[in-house]
Every structure is written in C-alpha cells, then in structure tokens.
C-alpha cells in the first residue's frame, strides 16, 4: 500500500456537557479556534484547503440538514471545500479518516476535521432516544441505543461469566479518569456500588452503565507529514486506519460476543500500521455502555476473548496498567456528543502521545495509541485509527 504519510499538528475541543447556552455553530467554532491555537508554530486558516464536518443529529432529527456550508460559515470561511459526513457513532473518526485519505492521496495538503453535536437541544426522551423510532418500523420497534448493544453484552455475560460488577468497574475507572480531564462532562467519582444501585435502564445496563447525552465540539488539523515541521516539532503520525461494516439487523449478526465490524476494522488498521495490539500504550475505545468497552477490548485484541471482565478487575486497563483504556474518561464520563466523539478520542491520543496529558498521562512504552468507534443504525459500522509518536 502506497500513501503519503499524514501528521496531526493541531487539536482542540470544547468542554463536553449540557451546553444549553451554546449553538452548534459556536461549538464548532470554539473547537476550530482551539485547534488552530494549539498549533505550536501557528497556522493561518488560509492554509486549510479541505474540511470535514462530523455531525449526526441533524439527519436524525430532520429540523435542518447540516452540510459542509454549516461548518464553513461557522468558522468564518465560506468558500472552503467542506463536506459534512454522517456515519453513525463513528462519524467523527470517519471524518478524520476522510481527511487522512485526502492528504494521503496528495489532493490535500492541510485538512481540518471538526466534529460538533447538540444532543441536548431537545429533551432526553425526544433526542437520541427518538432513534428508537427510526429504521424498520417493526424490526426496530421500541429499540433504543441500549437495546442495540445489550444482547451482545448479555451473551458475553452468559458465555464467559462476565459480571455486573465487572461492568460497573468500567464506569468506576472511566469516571475516575474523567476526574482528571477538565473537558469532561462527568468529573465526580463513583463506585461499583453506586453503579449497581442506580436505576436499571435496560438489562444489563444501569443508568451509570450508560454514557450521558452531550453537547460538544472537537477539531484536529492534519497535513502531509513532510510539511509538519512548518507547524510543530512534535507531530503525531497517522499509522493506520480501518473502517468496516457489519451485518445490519440484529438477526443478521454472526457473532454475539462482540462486533465483526470492529474486528475487521481493527485488523485493517493494525495491518496498515504494521503492528499488533501488544504495541498499544493506550486505547480510546467506544464505551457508550460499560459492557461495550469490554467487548470492544476483545474485538480489538487488547484482551483475549472472554477475559476483558477479569482484565478490568485486575486493573490491566487502568492508567498505569498493561494498556490504558479510555484515559480521557471515555464516552461514559467525558461525554458522547456523537459527531465530536471520535475527534475527541483522537485529541486524547494526540495529547497523550505528545505526553501533555498531565495527571492522566499514560506511560509510553511503544508510542502507539488506538482510537475506536462502533455503532450507527443497528450497530453497523466501526472505525479504528492508530496514531504513532514517531
């Protein structure tokens, strides 16, 4: 495979949370300004020749269909070649992938990725939960995000003895990590008992097994690696990425203790990067629900099949453990403004691989970090990205 090497040279985000006073455009602009401002040697916005706007809810709720023009106008650059992308929960990471493809192909020199989302523009029950009214009117009847993921987690618990306590340990870990992240939505500490005592939402997920509904924005700037020195002396490099789709409806899935699309996307990313999962120092993994992090760790090869529950119990996925999983706090605690989520995960890798993460800094042994999203309608798509320090 021949492609031009791609470097990340800037990254910035908004705080994630219930940002009732900010518009979608303000979130996008704030993330953009922070990303531009983060470039060590500075960058003029005019250097950006391509932009991708990651945003989901517009297409889910239909009051407006955002486009690339929404982003270009929000950041004061009408005329910019900007594309809006929506690809389920991996929207942000796929937007990043598209930017990488544009640069790697030689068509673009400097590309911008902005993810922004306003989930809290509506009440919780008429916001993301309304996705339960989307899709096939009978096969998706009464479905919500939880019912899309729960069957696999329940099968994992049934087949491998994974426990509700182990699921809760994921929440405890990620909330603890988020308490060290000033951008995170949830910064308190919780315990396993808190999780298990919280109201049940959907078997096997309690309220505290679930990520919040969030507003937020995140942006990164990528460029040809041979240009990176113009902007910074410590770029982070794109080592590999992969996208894969899944058999769509639940009845069509072929594995039920994970997701085939993540296994495929991960294999493609690792193959592109020329490394295996043992080379990872950290992973930002899609943890919309606690159990989903566990299954993803296995799909990505971070843990052997059936062992992820024991791994979190043993602290292997904590900061300082074998592989730190979701040191940012993850979707569970940092927040999950969908279009911004993947971009924010990449920002965490960028910060960690530059060893700028402060109190939540992960010890770097090999200099590789992985970012992953899985989801979309009926959990049909997964994106994995691997960034490298060198």
């Amino acid at each position: 495979m021949s492609w031009n090497k791609v470097a990340v040279v800037g990254a910035g985000m908004t705080e994630f949370g219930e940002l009732f006073d900010l518009s979608l455009e303000q979130l996008a602009a704030e993330a953009f300004v922070n990303a531009v401002g983060s470039v060590d040697k500075g960058i003029s916005p005019e250097r950006i020749d391509t932009a991708y706007f990651a945003n989901v809810v517009g297409s889910l709720q239909g009051n407006e269909i955002p486009s690339g023009a929404t982003l270009a106008n929000a950041i004061g650059m009408p005329g910019l070649a900007a594309t809006r992308l929506e690809n389920g929960c991996p929207t942000g990471s796929d937007a990043f992938r598209q930017a990488c493809l544009a640069v790697a192909s030689g068509v673009s020199d400097v590309a911008l990725v902005v993810g922004a989302e306003k989930l809290r523009e509506r009440s919780t029950k008429s916001s993301l939960l309304e996705s339960g009214r989307m899709g096939h009117p009978l096969l998706s009847y009464g479905g919500t995000a939880a019912t899309l993921f729960a069957p696999q987690v329940l099968r994992h618990m049934h087949e491998y003895g994974t426990t509700a306590e182990q699921l809760a340990m994921v929440a405890e870990k990620n909330w603890s990590n988020a308490s060290l992240n000033p951008k995170a939505q949830r910064t308190e500490s919780i315990t396993v008992d808190d999780v298990l005592a919280s109201p049940m939402v959907c078997d096997p997920f309690h309220v505290l097994d679930c990520c919040p509904q969030s507003d937020g924005g995140a942006a990164v700037i990528v460029c040809r690696a041979d240009m990176a020195a113009e902007f910074t002396d410590t770029p982070v490099y794109v080592a590999g990425f992969g996208l894969a789709t899944d058999p769509l409806y639940l009845h069509e899935k072929e594995i039920f203790t994970g997701w085939q699309c993540t296994r495929l996307a991960g294999a493609r990313a690792f193959d592109m990067a020329g490394i295996g999962p043992e080379m990872l120092d950290l992973a930002e993994v899609h943890d919309c629900f606690t159990g989903v992090e566990l299954l993803n760790c296995e799909d990505l090869g971070i843990c052997a099949e059936g062992t992820s529950g024991k791994a979190v119990e043993a602290g292997e996925t904590h900061i300082g453990g074998r592989v730190a999983v979701n040191p940012s706090g993850g979707l569970l605690a940092k927040g999950h403004p969908i279009g911004a989520t993947g971009v924010a995960q990449l920002i965490e890798l960028y910060v960690q691989l530059r060893e700028e993460a402060g109190a939540r800094q992960v010890p770097l042994r090999h200099g590789f970090g992985l970012q992953h999203n899985v989801g979309g309608y009926s959990v049909g798509i997964s994106v994995v990205t691997i960034l490298a320090r060198d």
Partner: protein
C-alpha cells in the same frame, strides 16, 4: 336441510384473566384483539388439519371488537390470511357487523371446496375473549372423517339488539326484554315438528343462549327422547366465537359422547343443529387455553408512532412477508435473509436468485432483556427477545406487555405470534412478537373437557 362437514378446528382462549364476582373472566392481553385471536385459532386449526394449509380455497372472517364498526374489515381479513400463511389466491370474505350467528352462518354458507371459517371476539360484557376456527369441506367427505352438522330447526323474528344498551362498565345491561324475545324464539323452535326425530340426543351444546332458552329446548327434547336423558348442557359463552367453539368442544369429547345438538341464537334467530361426531377425529381439533394466566396490563388508546405509517409504501412492500414470516433463501448457497426487499444480493455468494423461505415460528431465547426507558409513546417497559428459531435463523422481536422480565431466560422455548404493535388513528398495526411457551404447553392440544373453563357454564346473553 342445511348440512356442513368439518374436518378440523381449534379454539384459542387468551392467557389473561380478570376476576369478578362471577369468577375468572378471560380477556385479551393489551396487544390482542379479534384479529390476533382469529389467527391464533386459525393457525392451530390448520396445524391440526389433515392437509395443513394446503387446499384452503376460502377464508371467511367474522370479528368483533370493542372498537366495533371502526375496524377496517377488509384489511384485517387480509392480515389474518397473511399471518396464516395462506396464498393470495385464497378467497377472503369479511362479515361486517358480525354477531353470534355469524360464524355459524359462514360455516353453513361455505361454498364448494375447503373453507376456513374464523370467528373471534375480543370479549365484552360477560362473554369470554375467544377465537375459534373450523375447516369446512364439501359434503361428500366420508362421514367417518368429519363432524357433520345438520340444521334441524330455526325460528326468526325482528328484534333490535341495541335495546341491550351500552351501559357503564360494571353495570348489568338491561337485557330482560331481549331475553324475553329470545325465549319466545326458543319456544317457537322447540315446537318445530322436526324435533320429534331427535330421539337419541343425550347432549346439548349451547352458545350465546340463556337458561330460559335452554330450558325450552331441553323440555322439548325430554318429550321426544326414548331413553333416559343424561344431558350435559355444555354451554359455551364465547361471544360470536361461541357456536364454533361449541363444535370444537363436541369434537373433542371422548366417543361416543360427542354427538348431540347445538342450540344458539342471535340476530333475532334461534337455531338448532344436530352435531354428529364420528370416532377417532379428536386429533384434528384443539382447545388452546393456557393454564398459567396473566393479569392484563392496560391497553393504550393510542399506541406509539412508528417510523413509518402502516399505509405507507414501505409497509405495502414489507408487511405481508413479515406477517407470513417469509424470508428469502439464496438459490445458490442456501443463505437465508430478510427482509427480502432489503437484501436483493446474497451476502454469502453474491447470488441474486432467491426462493421463498418460511421461517420457523418456534425457537429458544438466545438473549432477552427488559428495556425500561423507551421513546415517548411506547410503554414504560418492554421485554425484547433475540430468539434462535428452530431452523437456526435468529429473530428479534418484543414480547407481549404482560411478559415479566424474569419469565424468559436463555434457552427457554418461545414462539412467534401475531400481536398488535400499535394503534394509530383507528388503524392497528400487527406484527410478530415472541410469546413464552411455558404458559401454554400445559394445556395445549388436549381435550376440551380437561381444559375449558367449566366454571363459566352459565349462559349469560352477551351480544
């Protein structure tokens, strides 16, 4: 003289019970209605029929629900046909304004060939919710293979049923005038000269008849009987499904007790039929009445809005196959896919030639969960099941609202049954739900005597 031959039949009684001072009262679950009751009974009858669903030429459907005339009868009858897996060439007749005699009239009016007659009543007043189905064939069927019904006497008069009034729930309807009118009809019928031939009758089945009516008929039979009569007046109070249910009950009696007469009344008519039950036919009949019961949850007046309305082109393309549990099977590699309209190319071999494949309707729980946080308009809580059907295909569907979360465990037996998904603007959307089998197997497939709610033999008039 009108006669009919019946080669198979079934009764379905829902599993929900409410208690009153008169005892237990079977009612529909929140997502059951006359359509689903008819399908449940019809599928059991077809399962018991010697040739299954093959050879069914016509379906006659009589439905009665509380929503009354608002039923879009034509569509509902087509829903019944699709859910029973009957081909589009089958003639479908809907009896609008169905009453107690509708099922019987349909049976007697069934034209040549094989006709599936369905009568279902979601229950009101004192009548029990019930679906009943009979498979009627032409009269040249060998006598030892069919229940033979021969009309003996009929009396008719003009009486408007609405005198009964629609009283408040819990109030007894003002039915004395109607009871008087029907008693008069029964009296007239009892004096019919053809009753003189009924010298051998030892059993009276009654549907939708009062004690007074039965008293007149019994007295008349007492006079003509040549033997000591030990009549067991098996009263079946099943609304408009009653007469057909009574015939199923007769067919399920151990020989030679099944034969007798059936008395029923409605629409200003009283009818007496001789019921001949040959030996060895009970395997073709089923009284399906769950022993384990539920308390019904309240059915919402208006259900949740779906992503697309039932009138939409999407439903037109997909509804029939989903009701028939119809999938597509790749002609090249055998891969099974559904919904077929969304899978035009095989995911396994890229083939584009498909055959129709009917999914198994039974299987086991592969995973189940209770969702307690649903979008606006849905119930507060619903159980969902990922089932592994007996043909190895997986299927995802909700369970009825009465299903408790701990009622379904991985490995438990379930079946797919037709239930209401929502009701919007008077139109009901039907689909398949996973129903726990453990509540049903205890009573299915055995004799009516063992399983009917014998405590309900009082013959209150409820039309």
């Amino acid at each position: 003289m009108t006669s009919s031959s019946v080669i198979a039949g079934a009764v379905y009684i829902p599993a929900c019970v409410v208690k009153s001072r008169r005892g237990e009262h079977r009612v529909c679950a929140a997502d059951e209605d006359a359509v689903t009751l008819a399908v449940e009974a019809g599928s059991q009858a077809l399962r018991r029929a010697p040739a299954g669903r093959n050879g069914v030429d016509a379906v006659i459907v009589a439905l009665r629900d509380d929503i009354g005339d608002a039923r879009p009868g034509g569509v509902d009858a087509q829903v019944v046909r699709e859910a029973l897996g009957l081909p589009s060439t089958v003639r479908v007749v809907t009896l609008s304004g169905a009453d107690s005699l509708s099922g019987l009239a349909a049976l007697q009016g069934a034209w040549g060939g094989t006709t599936l007659v369905l009568a279902a009543d979601s229950g009101r007043g004192r009548s029990q919710a019930c679906g009943a189905a009979l498979l009627a064939v032409s009269d040249d069927t060998p006598a030892n293979t069919a229940v033979r019904l021969v009309e003996v006497a009929r009396a008719s008069g003009l009486t408007h049923e609405r005198w009964n009034g629609s009283d408040s729930p819990g109030h007894e309807p003002d039915s004395r005038f109607l009871e008087h009118r029907y008693a008069s009809l029964a009296c007239e019928l009892a004096s019919h000269p053809d009753l003189a031939a009924l010298t051998d009758v030892t059993r009276i089945y009654a549907a939708a008849a009062t004690k007074t009516e039965l008293g007149h008929v019994t007295a008349a039979l007492d006079e003509v009987s040549t033997t000591a009569l030990a009549r067991d007046r098996a009263a079946v109070d099943r609304g408009i499904a009653g007469p057909l249910a009574a015939i199923v009950e007769a067919a399920l009696q151990p020989p030679p007790n099944g034969s007798g007469v059936l008395y029923t009344s409605g629409s200003g008519q009283a009818v007496l039929l001789r019921v001949g039950v040959p030996e060895g036919i009970s395997a073709h009949y089923d009284w399906f009445e769950p022993a384990e019961t539920h308390t019904p949850v309240a059915a919402p007046v208006e259900g949740p809005e779906l992503s697309l309305p039932v009138e939409s082109p999407f439903f037109v393309r997909n509804w029939g196959p989903s009701l028939r549990l119809e999938a597509a099977k790749c002609a090249s590699c055998g891969h099974i896919a559904f919904p077929a309209s969304q899978r035009p190319i095989c995911a396994k071999c890229h083939g584009r030639q498909w055959h129709k494949h009917t999914l198994a309707s039974e299987g086991r729980v592969y995973a189940s969960l209770q969702n307690k946080f649903l979008p606006v308009g849905f119930p507060r809580s619903l159980v969902f099941v990922l089932g592994e059907l007996d043909d190895g295909v997986k299927y995802w569907a909700p369970a009825p609202a009465e299903t408790a979360a701990d009622e379904l465990r991985i490995g438990d037996r379930v079946r797919l049954g037709l239930r209401c998904f929502t009701n919007r603007n008077g139109i009901t959307v039907y689909g398949m739900k996973f129903i726990p089998e453990k509540t049903e197997t205890a009573a299915a497939g055995s004799s009516a005597m063992a399983n009917t709610s014998r405590g309900h033999r009082t013959s209150g008039r409820n039309r």
